[in-house]
């Protein structure tokens, strides 16, 4: 097991990554926060609960009260949050209650937001069950839900008390989700950790075969990178922006496909291809680095082809939430292991990068 400390102005907590965490959850949570409160709730999904509910409950003297979120992005909304608040209230939740978010990124985002707003904020713990949630969304305190107009437009910064990333739970994760989730680790390497890039280049087979040691290594390195960035910029006023490498175009791809075709990590994979190309065009990475990083991304593919019109992608990119005051903020890779945010990216550059990405996608689909 590896332990990563997260320190922000608002909170200090630990992320635990390793095997066997799920079966020992209650004492681990007590070690992190002191005695369990009278009421403990767990937000999860029916498929996760069916597979892992028994193991989850095994270490609790009184099993937590389970709340369910139906799978799928369309339930990540205000109506779900309201319904869950009502259920918690009816089940006797008070300000001292604890919520455990046990599921993928959607459960984590909704659970965190639920904890942020129920009675103006209660404590919560993240137990992410997908690779993506383990390396990315469970760490950093970003919580929220979608509006019909766009993703994560409503939310809060609310740090968990602890995060338990159990590698055993990944055993039932569909292969496609693992591949997509690994894109956040590739991103972590590109923007901040050259050694992780190298490790992921050298251990493709072990990682895709889910060898515990390889997964633990990649998860811990990814979380360490994120913890470091979040610790320096909890509220995304500067540095934290670099975590959005590949996300500007990635979000546009998700929006254009109505969040129905691509997994988040798959959209980020294609978005990174666009960002890498833009960086290459500006000279922030060499053609050799471009080729090397593209190869790394594709090594964890294949990703679904993009049957999209260039003009739609470009239009969707402009509406992105990172564009404060209308300025296009864009994360560029700088060599391998560094990145920076620029604000002068032109529509023409985005068009060119997106066209390159579409050409790549056409090639990989054939």
């Amino acid at each position: 097991m590896q332990t990563i400390r997260v320190e922000t102005p608002a909170a200090k907590y630990k992320v635990f990554a390793g095997s066997g965490l799920l079966e020992t959850l209650a004492p681990r949570i007590e070690r992190a926060i002191g005695r369990l409160p009278r009421r403990v709730f767990v937000l999860t999904s029916v498929p996760i609960w069916a597979l892992w509910g028994e193991a989850f409950c095994s270490s609790f003297a009184d099993p937590p009260t389970a709340l369910f979120l139906p799978p799928g992005e369309k339930h990540k909304n205000m109506a779900s949050v309201e319904r869950l608040c009502r259920e918690m209230h009816r089940a006797g939740a008070d300000r001292g209650s604890l919520l455990i978010a046990f599921g993928g990124g959607i459960v984590g985002d909704v659970g965190g937001f639920l904890a942020a707003v129920y009675m103006r904020g209660i404590r919560y713990v993240q137990v992410p069950t997908t690779f993506l949630a383990q390396v990315d969304s469970s760490v950093g305190g970003k919580t929220g839900v979608n509006l019909p107009e766009g993703k994560n437009l409503v939310g809060a910064f609310h740090q968990p008390l602890a995060v338990f990333a159990d590698i055993g739970v990944l055993g039932t994760l569909p292969d496609r989700e693992l591949r997509a989730g690994l894109m956040e680790s590739v991103k972590a390497g590109i923007i901040r950790d050259r050694a992780l890039v190298r490790y992921m280049e050298d251990h493709v087979a072990e990682i895709l075969a889910r060898e515990p040691k390889a997964l633990e290594k990649v998860i811990a390195a990814s979380v360490r990178m994120k913890a470091d960035v979040v610790g320096q910029d909890e509220r995304e006023s500067g540095l934290r922006m670099i975590l959005n490498l590949g996300h500007t175009v990635g979000h546009a791809l998700e929006a254009v496909t109505a969040y129905k075709v691509l997994l988040h990590g798959e959209a980020v994979a294609w978005g990174m291809i666009a960002a890498l190309h833009l960086g290459f065009k500006r000279g922030t990475i060499s053609s050799k680095q471009l080729a090397r990083l593209e190869k790394l991304i594709h090594a964890y593919g294949p990703f679904p082809p993009l049957k999209l019109r260039l003009s739609n992608i470009v239009a969707a990119t402009v509406g992105d939430k990172k564009n404060v005051g209308g300025v296009k903020r864009f994360v560029l890779p700088i060599g391998i292991g560094d990145a920076s945010v620029v604000e002068d990216v032109t529509t023409a550059e985005i068009e060119s990068a997106a066209a390159y990405m579409l050409a790549q996608a056409a090639k990989s689909a054939s």
Copy 2:
């Protein structure tokens, strides 16, 4: 004009109380926060906007984009917050945008929560238009909405950048609302400011006649008390609880009457009568102090009679959100100018206090 500083761990800001603030709002906000952002929004209600919209806009080069909340407690809900988020997004709101909450307590609570969750938090300013909102809800950063199960069960702590309490705006406030709002000032005096109690005893006529000097004095003293308490306990883990004097039974009265019969301040008036009696029974205030404070409360009446069953009031009191872990927390006055939170109040004591209150209410109605 008087200026009161609020300092919490999360924020520092000023509350301005006086005349002529509304017509000079834009430069005053700029003095408080620096240049106005590209997009400024104002959340208000149609009646307030009809009366004061022109004055509000007069100091802005570009008038803010107005968003409306229909009057009434029933619109203080998650559906309104979602609708307003959507409207803001469609109108181009981004993370740098500013929201001004311009209205009574409901507009302030919803506006604050909207600012707390839109894109995980944007800046906002409070411009309260009722006496109650000026002395109470606009200060301290408590924001939120109701669930069908209870009031303010969903929300956030989100401090405004500044609060502008314009006394001129109170000119159009219905008399009943003024009287109800003054109960929070009476409460402020009882728990923390003996001089305010004395001033409100000696200036009933001037205050009810809305003489600007008298109102400014009462508002500033009330805000000063609240700022002091909030500064010591932003998140209501201890001291801030004393602000709930009269609110345990008061909330129960509001719940039992489905928020349709009593204004909040009126419920607090009756709730304080109950709390004073409980204090007298326990010996924390003398019979003379009880009589004196009851006289003060009634001097700012009359308040609507209570046609309620004792058992319903007692039952509703137990469901109160302040009862962490099932313990009944109750604020008791200690003499005049002090208060403390006790956790050992019995159902029998609440029954006795509520019975006394109902007898008083019957007397005042006859």
